[in-house]
């Protein structure tokens, strides 16, 4: 169904109202409002594939082949419901599209049988997506009416999970590339800059720096060459926004890059992507080639006189390479280590030239802003912080996935309303926002409205937008221990406070969570001291570290110490893990009624902490126990238990 080049470009350039009847008909086909045959779309992004979308795809193919049914089967991105994968959508000609959850391969035949007989299995259907000239299914909820979608404002994620990421035609059919074409036709470089300044768009990677101003600095720096770099080095555990934007709608990102590059007067752009994001690489790579074919990239784009080359560069996968100066160093082929700022990359960046580094989400916002205007953008979110923010929700949440909400939405709405809170019978303990450099936020602050300033007021931040939901089965101290260990491994080692500080912090956290075999008398005091030192150390790390990694490394520790101090105290003084997660801090006992006195536990105990006489119940000496749990594993009578 690939349209010819000229028609596609005409469609992209013209206002739909100015199109003739035939062209409008074509547009409807491209955007799949009108279908010639049934369409089945399988979410083939990472989350889908992990849940078995590959098998689902083959099952669908097999089904259609076997029954000789003429239907189109296409890949798509994710609609955000990652815990409901594999998600499959079906659109019959003339009807609205239906979305189904957890369609594993074994469910495919029954599901498709039902649909082709116009029966909708209620237990699998998520909802229907209303569309023009399409008859709705009765008794099926619209997606917009489902709590997960109802409270979201999906402007960046709008097409994710709906369009085919491999089809430029479909993106254009849904209004894509009209923004870029109007930019190169109608605006000067600085007009685009001003437009974005007026929109109030701010960098979505955590810092919240006004995007337009960043551009302006680079645009105003005289140079023979300028560079735009898209930062797609998303390596936070628990953040997957950029990945799904790239996998779900690569053309939107590339259009954004083209707009940004034009705005700063650059004709060379790079996408610096983590090499592990294989699916994103595949889609972006395909998209770039497609755009070149259609003349939307390259020299003298559509006779506008503007040249643009976009290249994909795969990073080796270091957390610190998400920092812009380290990213630039890595791009230049050097060790990915950050450099002091100022001078900022906007003055001397890649190869010493003015360079703007924007993140994927920021750039993906641009086509919408240009198409609908800065005032439209300003009408979403907050006054000083317009637009939306995409959060990736993971952890002990009932629904995990991607959520796009207007700035100013509270944590409560996101965590409790949109993703349905924690499991029934469980209690929310904390949300951790912003990955390993993020913050532990207690339930008491759930009503906080999320904007850059508001969070900063509480010494918090949103980082890259990963939200980890923790319920009462989680040990906050242990969670923080994990983050400190992660950051310790990821520090580049260049500056002292980060290199040494993260290691010392990790060591202290390790000591709090573990029980050494022979603990000297002073150790409780040492642990306490360690915590105290950690607070003062954190201050210096924040104050003197070279880049954001070191400056933010103490965040999890500082925020959890502030809001969950009692958990630390239990670990440090009572040597107890209240949530029973830190295995080494468990207290082990032997049930006298169940113990047969077989003595196996005493024989296997590495600390010789179990005493007794054979054929009589054994006993664990708490002072000697190191909490390894071997007795629990070897006991054949389930007599060993822990508190």
């Amino acid at each position: 169904m690939d349209p010819d080049k000229e028609l596609l470009l005409r469609l992209a350039q013209t206002d739909p109202s100015g199109l003739g009847r035939e062209e409008r008909e074509h547009l409807a086909l491209l955007s799949r409002q009108v279908l010639e045959q049934p369409l089945i779309m399988v979410n083939s992004t990472t989350s889908g594939m992990v849940a078995g979308a590959g098998e689902t795809w083959r099952a669908v193919e097999h089904y259609l082949e076997e029954r000789n049914i003429g239907a189109e089967i296409r890949e798509t991105g994710s609609i955000g419901l990652l815990s409901e994968e594999p998600v499959l959508s079906v659109q019959l000609p003339g009807r609205t599209r239906l979305f189904f959850r957890r369609v594993t391969a074994d469910r495919v035949p029954a599901l498709l049988d039902d649909i082709f007989h116009m029966v909708i299995p209620a237990e699998l259907v998520i909802g229907q997506l209303p569309g023009n000239r399409q008859e709705t299914w009765s008794d099926i909820r619209n997606l917009d009416n489902i709590p997960f979608f109802a409270l979201q404002s999906r402007i960046v994620l709008e097409h994710c999970g709906i369009i085919d990421p491999f089809s430029l035609a479909e993106y254009v059919g849904r209004g894509g590339y009209s923004a870029f074409l109007s930019v190169i036709r109608r605006y000067t470089f600085s007009e685009v800059c001003n437009l974005v300044i007026r929109s109030g768009l701010r960098g979505r990677s955590g810092g919240g720096f006004p995007t337009g101003l960043k551009w302006k600095t680079a645009a105003d720096t005289p140079s023979d060459q300028k560079y735009l770099i898209c930062n797609a080095e998303e390596s936070d555990p628990g953040a997957f926004t950029d990945r799904y934007l790239m996998e779900g709608n690569p053309f939107q990102l590339l259009e954004g890059i083209a707009i940004a590059a034009y705005a700063i007067g650059s004709n060379r752009a790079y996408i610096y992507i983590r090499s592990e994001l294989k699916d994103s690489v595949k889609r972006i790579d395909h998209a770039i080639r497609e755009l070149r074919n259609f003349g939307l990239l390259g020299d003298n784009i559509l006779d506008s006189g503007y040249n643009l080359q976009i290249s994909l560069r795969k990073g080796p996968g270091a957390f610190v390479c998400g920092e812009e100066t380290a990213l630039i160093a890595s791009l230049e082929g050097r060790r990915g280590m950050p450099a002091p700022k100022p001078p900022y990359p906007t003055a001397t960046g890649y190869l010493g030239r003015p360079t703007v580094v924007n993140n994927v989400e920021t750039l993906s916002n641009l086509p919408g802003i240009i198409r609908k205007g800065p005032d439209w953008f300003r009408s979403i979110g907050q006054k000083d912080c317009p637009g939306t923010k995409i959060f990736s929700i993971s952890g002990r949440s009932r629904i995990t996935g991607l959520v796009e909400v207007p700035m100013g939405t509270t944590f409560d709405v996101i965590v409790n309303k949109i993703t349905g809170g924690v499991e029934r019978g469980r209690e929310l303990k904390a949300v951790h926002v912003g990955g390993p450099l993020g913050y532990m936020i207690p339930p008491a602050l759930m009503d906080l409205e999320i904007t850059y300033e508001n969070l900063k007021k509480h010494q918090l931040g949103m980082g890259s937008g990963g939200i980890l939901v923790l319920d009462d089965r989680t040990c906050v101290v242990n969670m923080v221990r994990y983050f400190t260990a992660y950051v310790d491994k990821q520090s580049c080692g260049k500056c002292i406070p980060c290199r040494e500080g993260t290691r010392r912090m990790a060591e202290v956290m390790e000591r709090i969570c573990s029980r050494p075999a022979d603990e000297p008398d002073q150790s409780a005091l040492d642990r306490f001291r360690g915590v105290l030192e950690m607070e003062s150390l954190s201050g210096v790390m924040k104050d003197t570290s070279l880049c954001g990694l070191g400056q933010n490394a103490p965040n999890p520790v500082m925020s959890s110490l502030k809001y969950f101090r009692e958990e630390y105290e239990a670990h440090v003084f009572d040597r107890v893990c209240p949530s029973n997660i830190c295995t080494q801090l468990r207290s082990w006992f032997i049930d006298v009624d169940l113990c047969t006195g077989c003595s196996i536990c005493a024989k296997r105990c590495p600390a010789e902490a179990i005493i007794g006489t054979p054929r009589h119940p054994y006993f664990i000496v708490q002072e000697k126990c190191i909490g390894c749990g071997i007795c629990y594993e070897v006991c054949k009578f389930s007599a060993v238990y822990y508190k």
Binding site: A318, R335, M337, A339, P340, P342, P343, D488, K489, Q490, S491, C492, G493, K494, C495, I496, P497, R499, E500, G501, T502, R503, R504, E507, E533, S536, L537, V540, K542, D543, T544, S545, L546, Q551
Partner: protein, 573 residues
């Protein structure tokens, strides 16, 4: 255009675009630094120079923060001091606590920082770094446990010496200084220039100390211990013994060395004079030929090795001579030892030099025919100072009271080889004489003595002319050699010195010399030449006697077999 800065309540004027650090130091305000090196790009790694700038959330590193507008700065507020102190404490937390056994005890920058910040308590405990010490190189010892990862050596090795032997490897707390593919220093592409030792703040990079092994020989009556010292040692040893930079101890050192127990003393400038005679002869041979021309000097062992590894196609251009120290060493063992044995059983040949590469050179197969080294021990200027301190000799008394000077042999023009451009200069004097038959006025080359990494001059030699060049610092040399390879620079003679400013700034010299110190050393060398009666190699009576009695014709059979060698291209050591 000046910009006003308010520093600790006082006002100073800074230039637009300069760093806070340079503005502060121009006004005599001291901020501690570790990673900063004046000549090299700031990295902002050590965070020791952090200052408080009003209106900025975090402390900023003075070394890299450019002054663009008026600033209010606090350099020693309690917040700043706490930050500096904590960072030093962090460095100490895993630093091995063996200051008393460390080569850099009392000359260690980390030690003095800890002292200045009054650290008296181990507030942050950590696991001590240990192991991984690399003693494979005859010249340089790398002890990663003591490394505080300031990156000075990395930048010197890459930016100035263009060898990039050392670089960072690993991440975070596992970060370390390493050679490529973690080879040992001996197997790496290290030229042993030793510039890294001169900038290392701690004991992580030190020279391979040899003087303790020498001591037993000095007191052994059966051993004839002969020593040579280079002219660069003579003008810089004083700095380690309390004299002003640039003090020439050329008259004291022979006496001193005799008192330390050496039986025979000679200055390596003798070998340098011989080398110049030989080189002039080689120049004569090659002149007028299409190739290999220009003649490139080979007196710097670090340069020769660098050339073998990186520019093998230029090797034919190199003069085939050994270094002046090796030539002197050969003369000592082959010529002088026989005259001095007097029943002694063994000959020990010692070199005191500013050069660490000489340590490696002395151990190389080329310089150890039949496994017997030409030079047995190579000591640096620093090691000699240690020996002197150990001996308890009072230099002042020696200078005034000593009359029994030993038979002293030295070179004349050869002393100039210690300074960058010097070898080219004295070689020109001999070539001039060769070409024209008359003596050259030394002041003709006054312009050649400017303080620059590359200098060039043209000397008229009767009908023809001689175009000479001298380059120091390997990175600078690489730039020039690329040009020569592209055929851009027309030269007759090129001197290459690996170390910036030549031998007076060698890897074995007093540590962390500032620019004024280097200038003072250079000036001392030039002053010696200006004040000398004999200013050419071919007028050195000792050299002439040597040629008459022993060597025959310069460039002849004997000297060729003794002093010439062959260079071979290779990947690494």
């Amino acid at each position: 255009m000046g910009i006003r800065l308010e520093v600790n309540g006082r006002e100073i004027i800074a230039e637009k675009g300069e760093t806070i650090l340079s503005a502060l130091s121009r006004h005599g305000m001291h901020v501690p630094t570790i990673c900063n090196l004046k000549e090299l790009s700031p990295t902002g790694a050590c965070r020791m120079c952090v200052v408080e700038v009003e209106g900025l959330e975090n402390l900023v590193p003075a070394c890299s923060f450019p002054v663009e507008g008026e600033l209010k700065i606090k350099t020693h507020s309690s917040r700043v001091l706490r930050a500096r102190k904590t960072n030093v404490e962090l460095l100490l937390s895993n630093h091995p606590d063996d200051c008393l056994y460390c080569e850099r005890n009392l000359s260690c920058e980390l030690q003095s920082l800890a002292e200045h910040l009054h650290i008296r308590e181990r507030r942050i405990p950590g696991k001590k770094r240990s192991g991984g010490i690399d003693r494979t190189s005859p010249a340089i010892v790398l002890d990663p446990a003591k490394c505080i990862l300031c990156g000075r050596c990395v930048r010197v090795c890459g930016e100035i010496m263009a060898t990039s032997t050392l670089d960072f490897a690993g991440r975070g707390n596992e970060l370390k200084i390493s050679t490529s593919l973690a080879k040992t220093l001996d197997e790496s592409n290290c030229t042993a220039c030793g510039q890294c030792l001169n900038v290392c703040p701690t004991g992580a990079l030190t020279e391979n100390i040899q003087f303790p092994g020498l001591e037993p020989h000095l007191s052994d009556p059966k051993a004839l211990v002969m020593v040579q010292y280079t002219p660069a040692v003579a003008v810089s040893l004083g700095e380690l013994l309390g004299y002003r930079p640039g003090t020439d101890l050329g008259k004291t050192i022979p006496v001193l060395l005799r008192r330390l127990g050496f039986d025979f003393v000679v200055e390596s400038s003798l070998g340098a004079d011989v080398m110049i005679m030989e080189q002039a002869a080689i120049f004569q041979e090659r002149k007028g030929q299409e190739k290999p021309y220009p003649l490139i000097t080979s007196s710097c062992p670090a340069w020769v090795q660098f050339c073998e590894m990186n520019f093998p196609e230029l090797l034919p251009f190199l003069s085939p001579l050994r270094s002046p120290a090796q030539i002197t060493g050969i003369l000592m063992k082959e010529r002088f030892a026989g005259q001095l044995m007097h029943g002694k059983k063994r000959v020990i040949s010692v070199l005191v030099t500013s050069c660490t590469a000489a340590k490696r050179e002395a151990k190389s197969g080329e310089m150890t025919p039949q496994g017997i080294p030409v030079i047995d021990f190579v000591l640096t200027t620093r090691e000699l100072a240690k020996m002197i301190r150990l001996s308890g000799l009072d230099l002042e008394k020696l200078q005034s009271g000593e009359t029994e000077a030993p038979v002293m042999i030295h070179g004349y023009a050869g002393k100039l080889t210690a300074a960058a451009g010097g070898e080219a200069e004295c070689l020109t004097r001999s070539i001039y004489r060769q070409e024209t038959g008359s003596e050259m006025d030394p002041s003709k080359l006054q312009r050649f003595r400017i303080h620059k990494s590359y200098r060039e001059a043209t000397v008229k030699t009767g009908k023809g002319s001689l175009r000479i060049g001298a380059v120091n610092g390997l990175a600078e040399a690489v730039r020039l050699l690329e040009e020569i390879r592209a055929g851009r620079t027309q030269l007759d003679l090129l001197e290459v010195m690996a170390c910036p400013d030549g031998c007076i700034n060698g890897g074995g010299q007093p540590l962390r010399a500032r620019e004024q110190t280097l200038r003072a050393r250079t000036k001392a060398i030039f002053d010696l030449d200006n004040g000398a009666e004999i200013r050419t190699a071919h007028h050195n009576p000792d050299v002439n006697r040597l040629y008459k009695d022993y060597l025959g014709q310069s460039g002849g059979e004997t000297s060729r077999s003794l002093f010439q060698t062959a260079f071979t291209g290779r990947k690494d050591n």
